[in-house]
Structures are given as structure tokens and as C-alpha cells.
Symmetry: C2
Subunit: 614 residues, 2 copies
Amino acid sequence: MYRTHTCGELKLENAGQTVELAGWVQTVRKFGAITFVDLRDRYGITQLLFGEDLNAQLESNPLGREFVLQAKGTVSERSNKNKNIPTGGIEILIQSFSILNKSAVPPFTIQDDTDGGDDLRMKYRYLDLRRNAVKKNLELRYAVNRSARNYLHEQGFYDIETPFLIKSTPEGARDFVVPSRMNPGEFYALPQSPQTFKQLLMVSGYDRYYQVVKCFRDEDLRADRQPEFTQIDCEMAFVEQEDILNMFEALVKRIFKDVRGLDYTEPVERISWEDAMWNYGNDKPDIRFGMKIANLKFPLHVFTSKIAFLQNSPLGDESAAGFAVFDSAETVVAISVPGGSEYSRKQTDEITEWVKRPQIGMKGLAFIKCGTDGTYKSSMDKFFDAEKLKAIAGATGAQAGDIVLILAGNEERTRKAVSELRLEMAKRLGLRKSNEFKLLWVLDFPLFEYDEESNRWVARHHPFTSPKPQDIQVMINNDPAIKDAAKYLEHPYANIKANAYDIVLNGNEIGGGSIRIYQRALQEKMFAALGMSKEEALHKFGFLLGAFEYGAPPHGGIAFGFDRLCAILGGSESIRDFIAFPKNNSGRDVMLDAPSTIDKKQLEELQIKTAGKS
Amino acid sequence: MYRTHTCGELKLENAGQTVELAGWVQTVRKFGAITFVDLRDRYGITQLLFGEDLNAQLESNPLGREFVLQAKGTVSERSNKNKNIPTGGIEILIQSFSILNKSAVPPFTIQDDTDGGDDLRMKYRYLDLRRNAVKKNLELRYAVNRSARNYLHEQGFYDIETPFLIKSTPEGARDFVVPSRMNPGEFYALPQSPQTFKQLLMVSGYDRYYQVVKCFRDEDLRADRQPEFTQIDCEMAFVEQEDILNMFEALVKRIFKDVRGLDYTEPVERISWEDAMWNYGNDKPDIRFGMKIANLKFPLHVFTSKIAFLQNSPLGDESAAGFAVFDSAETVVAISVPGGSEYSRKQTDEITEWVKRPQIGMKGLAFIKCGTDGTYKSSMDKFFDAEKLKAIAGATGAQAGDIVLILAGNEERTRKAVSELRLEMAKRLGLRKSNEFKLLWVLDFPLFEYDEESNRWVARHHPFTSPKPQDIQVMINNDPAIKDAAKYLEHPYANIKANAYDIVLNGNEIGGGSIRIYQRALQEKMFAALGMSKEEALHKFGFLLGAFEYGAPPHGGIAFGFDRLCAILGGSESIRDFIAFPKNNSGRDVMLDAPSTIDKKQLEELQIKTAGKS
């Protein structure tokens, strides 16, 4: 061993001991005949003092930043103590030292506030990983990993490894494929998730399974998506939705406790998908703050589908007092922003410009300022009297001093816009605190979504999700074919709810899952509903349909996005900072320079040709 | 939840309780008006008793093997207790039941001694996994996983995930590659191990790293090799070989203790590679028994390379008394087999046939029977007098009552043959006990092997292994080129020892590793020694050479073959039984039917063509 102690552990009580340390030179400071070196390792920083006797040796072997140094000396009390670090009470009086390795000058500083840009840091990731900011992230990641494993172990779950070289059955996302040399013309696929395997394990009776496992999706990368990512993947048999919710909200609470010291004792709130969409405009609401959406005008299909909780709109049932913007709009929605009644014209103009940005896509913004004096001033004074303005403000729950922001337009876009506006205003008001954690279960998703292009159903979650028990017969007894595309909402499948659930943390989906189909007939009906022929279903999923023949138990599970969960717990928006060796937004590892071309011999052995080279 | 208890937990003290169980029907036995059902789940088997009142319901819903059943009833003391199972004291008097899922008749019985052949069991792996024999293996595998993680965690190791989509740098084994859709013509590779990444993590200062991680090698499969396999992968910084040996023999001992309840308190023996080869004929000796090899005649090169421990041969320095078989042989080796002096002619003939099999490839076998009366009877009586026979027997350590078996021929083949013969005889004598565990460190491997075909050096371990400290200068100061192929043994590189170690359990290599090169100049010299041009080395490993520029610490590590370790701990020779979803010897998953062809659209998107289809 090159050291007797680490750079993080020596304290006053070690004074007088002879110790050996090894680590990296963080700083070198020369004061006349003596030299101070801060030596850094994974555990901390310790100050070394090189006296006059070592001067000659230091001069012929000068130390530089990031040199790897081994040094022997005596622990000694420091006159000038540093209270900010655990070893700040002592320094080491060096007797002898040896440079284990030199270092070129790093391309950026190894400090929290580094001067390195993103590209440079990714290219020299091994240096970036030395920075305390990144190291803390990876430590947190390991702590989450460890905490999850401990909890699941205590709950009787087994870690069972599932294969990585599997069969390509693209449903939804694209597979990465792996050409087989031993079977020319054939390919393995990398798993998008261990979904079917964990279900088979339930069929096999393993009851409680988990894995912290890499998954792969060959999708066009958006910011903060990785082609390979990690899931905490879990499955249980003989359970219903309620069992899953209880088991896994306790997992997240345990992680909060172990990793952040946080007691999340309150029950996790639950909301239906429908309520989430109406009240927050999206299916992963951030409920650290209120500002719920008031639906002032409902789209027509709402009346046909008769959603129970709707009340009369304060705008009036049919029209909006001749205000063309509202009259012609499919949807009118509003939120109230605390303290906004004092916004200047400049401020309301700026918010209007914000919603008109192409990413948001609104044509404009109406507002009502709810004065602290009980008055209402609005951009729509012409069209609505004070009574009406008050009613509208009331619908948003606005208090005196608030501003009500109103958007109108096409249902989908307007809903998305008001959801973004809500998050933006909350951010400006400091309501999205990175050290506050608020969980939410979103339940009762639709089982299917309508795909206009192919005029058929697609699975909202995945093809293995079970409908709610009461919807099973609806699914079995009806033909999935959509005869009249214009009236797809009237098809019985449009209202089938999934036995599925997402868990949301601070407005981010951190996990999702479902109770699965475990009956062959229902699974076959599902494949048919998704436009799969019997032959195709058998070719792709024959093993699963076969397994369902031999006593498949009721089962369900969940998968957590491990990278995202870590990022949120670390107070960050970006998952890349929580992955040791991430890829950039084009799916490249710029440190390795991968992907890259391969040898001609490799291609020949695989019997494949690349485009333009055949 | 579909149950209040599992099928493994109810005991006499639960008598009188109303419980609900869910599981699989193992057996159904009808005795007149009552029916006994053994219900099975992951935790055990519980007997259910269906009384007369349920007869009608049972008749309209008959139960079959592997049906999934939910049943409610009262725990009751059994008159006819079964002492073999934990729940054997009780049975459940059933009040109501429901069949959760039916089962077709399984293609083989779900029992320890199943009637299913290998192929059938692999095709229906989800049923095979239900068998207790397989379930115990996966439980053991999880226990090993858990034990290793706990130990490494306590020792301050972090689990840090390394990427799966990396760069192809085939050294030794072939890479599996993954075509990149976003970068047409380019490929990722799947890692053969996280070797370079764990070294980078050491450069980054992470100090103690581990992972239980899938690795991939596209090799022609031999029996009991898998294209994807799992390693316990570890690395440490600021360590020397001794630190690694201590850290990781303690890991294995901890696993012995946690998983098998075994106190392995004695120190782990160590042997040099050279001694292993001379004494056991291979580099992973099974030391559960003795029967060391006596080297009766040494190959010529031994004298030139002056191995210190050699003594004079009992055959005489130069020739063997005119016995042509020995005179013409490069090597003559012998082992003594306990109790063999009584072997019949038929038995010695059979052993002779055994060594003449093509897999062993010897021309014949000589023997000396060491009679309990002090006489020596030999197949070579013509050539050697009693004194000489006694001396030869003495060299093997033979006792009265033993037989000495002697092989002669070409060095490599003869050594391999005597090694196989030793293992075979030990097996016949019952000396290779699956419940006895014996560890061994093999040290001081050669750094290089000579590759005849390309007349150059290849790395015995891998290109990142450091030479022994005293050999670093030998490596740096000499030209690796081999001028005279016939005299390659005289090249200074032939005697360079690696700072590498294997850990052997019961004659199987369960782990191996090395102290790594951490100096750029030495790493470049290594690449050059392996015939890599500067450009090639930079193209493939530029990131690593770069990392060594910025303060790389001394470091080393080890990787355990997790599948093999589990198999040996489970008393099995086959790793396939310890993998949930293994591939067969052609690399196929017969359950999934993978690899398989993929859609034309997938190929088009990837811009690759398969042979014969361009």
C-alpha cells in the first residue's frame, strides 16, 4: 500500500504520528524556504509542509498541479487552522517524498467552478470526474443504488440478471441490433427493458424480482436523453395496483431517507390522469406549488364524453360575450399567479412575448389583475364587466394581489402552453425549490392512444399492460377496428383505462409501471388491437404467449429511471452530470471517439456491408 | 394482495387462523370425498384440504398440475405430519377457492429429477426455472451477488456503471459490434470487460471501484462458454500486488461464509506460475489433493533458462538406460496414485487406453506398482532395476501400495496429458469433492507469449498488465523485435514476469487480474511490443494514453468470473445452470429464437446489408 492514511482522515488526535499519504497535488504555495502543498484524494485534502531541508530536492523535482505524490511525515497541529475542511486542524511535516507520476497542465482547472466548457470536459472526462462537483454526483448515485438494493432485499426481492443479447421486437422505440457472426444474416437486439423476461420470471414463480440494469433505445436524441440508460426494474406476482403503489412509494421514501436524510412521512398524493391533464395540463404535474388550471371553456368532445367533475364555465356555456378570441377558441384556460397584480405593462408584455415564442406557440395572452383594493383590471375590460372578471378570477382561486393569466386556442397546444406557463411562472417566483421533494402517483391512464396515420390503436404504456378489471370484457367483446376515423372517440376502446401508474417527483416522471396481462386470450386481443397479425404476434412474442399457457400468475411491476431519479435528488436538471461516462446529444462518446469505423476483417466475419461500400 | 401468507411460512402456531394462499398446484390427490392439493410457491409447499362441501365446485372446476390457485381457509394441525418440509405440521381446511389461471400439461415434470431433456428445458426455460434444483441455483447466485456487494461496500468500494456502447478495440477476443443509425458506417462495440474504464476511474481518483457487470465476447463457443457473461469487476489505486491479494481473498472467504456457512480461516496458498506448471501441469491446479507431478526428464530449453528448483532426474542426466521411449522423449513425467498397486492388468490397460484417446493423445503409459511388501513391479522391468524403480517412485512421493503412472513425449502435450490424468485419477478416487473448497493464488505469470504465426509477442493477460517492477527497465531498454524466431526464448522479453495473479478454486480459475501500467512511455512500449503502430495505438487507446499524461496513480485490480464462481459454489461443473436465461452452445436463445432476421426497414435505417442480399 502506498499510504497509511487517506487525505480525509487525519485530525488533531493523530498529532505526532508518522504517516504516509498519496494523492494529487491540488496547489503548491511557496513561502520563502518552506513550501505548502495541498494533497487531494477521494476522501479529502490534507496540507503538507515541506521544510527547508527538502528545498534542494523540490527544486530538482518540482511539483506541479495534478502530480501524483507519495509523502511521508509527521502529523502536526496547524497554527493557522482551516475550519472549512475536516483535516484543517493539522498539517504533515514532510520527511521524504516521491513523485509517483507527473502531470501535464490540465486543459481546465480541477475545481467546482471550472473554466472548462462542456465539450472539453467531455473529451477529458477522466479529469472532469476529479472535480468535487462531479464526484459528489457519482457518490450520490451509488448511495441511491445501495439504498434501493437494501430496501428491495429486505422486502424479499431477488436481483436476477436477464440477457442483453435478445430478440428484436421493436414496439414503439427502435432497437439497437447486434449482428451475429455465428448466424450470418441474423441479429440480436439489445433490450429496451427486461420487460418480457421479468414477466417470465413471474410465470416461473420468482415472485419478487429486481435489477439495476442498463437499457438501450435507438431514438433520435433529444437534449438529456441517452442511448443507454439505467433502470431500477421491479416486478411482483400475486399483487394488485394498491400493493405496488405501497411497496414502491416506500422505496422512494427510503431512498430520500438514506440519501438525503429526509423524512417523507406524509402519504403520497394520487391523481387520475384525467385530473392531472385538466388541473395541470400534463401527466406529470409538479405539485410543489398550486396554481391549478381553471378550464374556462371546454372543448366540444368533453361534453360528449361527459366528464363528471366539470362545472359550468364562468365564461358562460356557449360563448364569451362577443370576445372573438374566446368565441373561436376550442379551449380557454387560466392560472392565477401570486403577487402579479403589481406587474407593469412591461412585465405583462414580456410574459405575452414568452407565450408567443415558437416553442409555446400561443397567439397572445389575456390577463386580469386582482387589485389589493378589490378592483379588477383586465386586458379584456371591453368584453367582460367586473362581475364576470371576478367570476373568472374566482375560478382560478386568485386572491387579491394576484394576476390571472388566460390562454385560448386549440385544445392540445393551449393545454401544453398553460402547463409550461405555470412552470415558468413558478420558477420565476422561486416555487420550484430543488431541495423540496414532492411525490405524486398518476393513475388511470388511457390504455390506448389513437394513431391517426395508421387509423389504429397504439399502446400508451406498452402491449403488456392490463386494462382495468372492469374494462377487460369491453376489450374482449369488441372489435378493435376503427370504422369511422372521425368518430374514434366513440369507439369503446377509447375509454378503456389502463391498470397503470406513474410516479412523479417534482414534475418529472421518475418511474412507471402497470399490472400486466397474464391471460393468453387477452394478450392476443391486445396484439390484434395494435394491428399485429396472429403470425407476427407468434413470431415476436410466441415465448410469452406460450408461457401464459402454463399457469401465469397475476403480476405487475414498475421501472424507475435511475439516471433521472439521481439527477433530481442531486438538485440537477441534467442526467448527464450523474453518469460517469455519458454520451453527447448525438450519441457519441467524445472521449473514446465512438462509434467509429471497424476493421474490414470484422465486417467480413460478420458478413455485412455498410452503405456505399458494397 | 392475493394472499395473506406464503406457502412456506405457516406452522403449528398458526393453527386456527384464517389465511389466504396463492400458488401453483403441485399435486392433486383424491381420497373419496376429500381432495388434497399441494400448493407451491417460491417459499415452499403447503397442503390444502378440500372437504366434501367443495366437491361439486371442484368437479365443475377441476384442478390440474401447475394451475394457479387462490384459496382461503383455516390453518389446522395435520394428523399425518410431514417432517421433511417446514409446513409439514399443518394443512389448510379450504373454505373457498378460485382458479386464477389454468395450465396446459407441462412438457416435462416440474421436479428435481425432471423427465425433460436439455433442449426441451431450454425451450421452456420459464417452466424449467420453476424446478427447485434451478431455483436454488439462482438463489445462490443472488446470495453471492449480495455478499460480494456488502463486502466491497464495507471496504469503501463504489459501484460505478461504465458504458456498454463503446469503441471497438479488438485485442485477443472478437468484439460484438452495434451499427450506429445516427452515424452510418460506424459501429459501437459491446465491452469485453470494463478494463479501460475502470483504469480511467483510478486516474480520476475514485480509488476503489466495483461492478457486477455483463461482458461480451464473440468467440467460437466451447461447451460451457456464453457470449455474454458476468464479472465482479474491481479496481484499486495506490496498491501493490500484496494489497490486492489480501483484499480479494478476503472477499472470497466472505462469500464462502455468507453463502455456504463455511469458515475458510487458513491463509490462501500461493504458487508461482512456473511451479504450477512443473508440479501440476497447468496454471490452475486443483490442490484439494496431492499427486504432484515428478519431472523425470526435463526438456532441453530448461537447462538454457536455468530454472533454479530443478534437481537431478532419477532417470539419469542424459539418457534412460536404453529405453527408447524415454530416450527419444522431450519430457518424462510421473504421478503416484494412492492404492493403485493392486490394479489388475485390465485396469492398467484401461488407463493406458484412456491416455491414448485423441483428447489426451499419448502413445502409451508406463507404470510402477509399489507393492505393500516393498517390491516394485513395472511395465519397464527390462530397462530399470529395482533401485532405479525405487528412485523413480521416490521422486513422485509414492508410498507402499501406490501405483506410479509415467508419460513421455513432447513437452506441451505430455504436460497437458499428465495434468488431465492427475485430475481423472483423483476423480475416480473421489478426491475432487464438490463440498470441499480450496483456494490458490497463482503468481508470476510470464508477461508475454510468443506467437509463432506473426513472430511477435502477444500479451498473456492483456496489454494493460504491468511487468514486475524489476522487469520494467528490461522492457523499456530492449527492442521487442524478435530477430531469430528459433531463439525467441533467448530474447530478454521471454523472461519478463507479469505483475499478475489468478485466483483458483478447486482447479478452476475464478478470477484474475494485475497491477496495471500507469506510465505512458511503458504503455506505448507495450503496444509496440504487441506489434501495434504508433498510429494504431493512438487511434484505439489515445484516450488512455492521454489520461496517463495527467497524473495517473499506481493501480491494479481483478475480475471474478461470476457465473463460474456461482457454479462451483453450487457444486456444479456447468455455468448454464446458474444463469436465468442462458444461450446454448451455438449462442442461440432457443426460448426466444434469437438471434433472428430483422425487418428490412431496420436494415435500411442502419444502412447496412447482409451477405447475399446486397
